[in-house]
C-alpha cells in the first residue's frame, strides 16, 4: 500500500486487504500484524449460527498467536462477509505517521445472521519499509441489536398501541 498522504485511501485499501485475505488465505493474515500486535477478535469457538444478539471476543498478543488463531479457525474465517456502513480515519502517533481507523458495520459468515460490529485499528509504518503498514492494534466489538426491552416502567409507552 503506497503512503500517499491521503489517510482515507490508505485506510480503505487496508480494510479491503485485511478482510479479503481472511477469505482468500487465512494462513497469511498474520503477516499484516507487527511482531507484538494486540488483537481482540471473534471467539470462533462458539456457534456463529445462533439467536444471540451479539458474539463474544477473545484477546491475543503477538504474531505467532495471531497466526495460530486464524489458521486453527480458517474454515469459519474464510466465509466472513462484511458490510462497512461508515469509516473514520485519523493520522496519529509520533510525527503523525500512524493511522487510527474506526469502522462500523455488519458481519456474517456462511448460514449465520448478520452481526453488528465496530472495529478500531492502529496501523504503523513498518520499520524496514515505511511504504508498508503493520497492524499494531486491532479491536473488534460486537454491538447487540437493540432489544426493545419495553418495560412497564416506561411512562407513556403502550406497545400494542404503538404497533
Amino acid at each position: 500500500m503506497s503512503t500517499s498522504t491521503n489517510v482515507k485511501e490508505i485506510g480503505y485499501a487496508f480494510l479491503k486487504t485485511y478482510y479479503q485475505r481472511m477469505r482468500n488465505d487465512p494462513s497469511k493474515i498474520h503477516h499484516l500484524y507487527s511482531a507484538t500486535a494486540e488483537l481482540t477478535h471473534v471467539d470462533y469457538q462458539v456457534d456463529l449460527i445462533s439467536d444471540k444478539p451479539s458474539l463474544p471476543t477473545i484477546k491475543l498478543i503477538g504474531k505467532d498467536n495471531i497466526n495460530k488463531y486464524y489458521t486453527r479457525h480458517s474454515k469459519k474465517v474464510t466465509t466472513v462477509k462484511v458490510k462497512v456502513d461508515s469509516c473514520d480515519f485519523q493520522f496519529t502517533g509520533s510525527n503523525n505517521v500512524s493511522i487510527l481507523i474506526l469502522a462500523v458495520g455488519e458481519m456474517c459468515w456462511s448460514q449465520t445472521p448478520s452481526y453488528r460490529f465496530c472495529q478500531t485499528f492502529i496501523l504503523t509504518p513498518a520499520t524496514n519499509n515505511p511504504e508498508i503498514y503493520d497492524v499494531t492494534n486491532d479491536i473488534l466489538r460486537f454491538i447487540p441489536e437493540v432489544t426493545l426491552t419495553l418495560h412497564e416502567t416506561e411512562p407513556n409507552f403502550d406497545p400494542k398501541a404503538a404497533l
Binding site: G11, L15, V82, K83, T112, T147, L150, E152
Partner: protein
C-alpha cells in the same frame, strides 16, 4: 492541516448487497421474535 477523513457510504467486502440481504433477514426475524416475546410478556 486537518488530516481526519471519513467514508460515509456503505461498501461490501467478500459479498454483495443481495447476498448480504439473507443474513440481514435472519437478523430481522430474530429481533422481531424478541419483540413479540416482549409484547406478550407485557400483556
Amino acid at each position: 492541516t486537518l488530516t481526519s477523513e471519513s467514508i460515509e457510504y456503505p461498501f461490501y467486502i467478500n459479498t454483495t448487497e443481495e447476498e448480504f440481504a439473507s443474513a440481514r433477514a435472519q437478523r430481522h426475524e430474530i429481533t422481531l421474535k424478541v419483540l413479540r416475546k416482549e409484547i406478550n410478556r407485557l400483556e
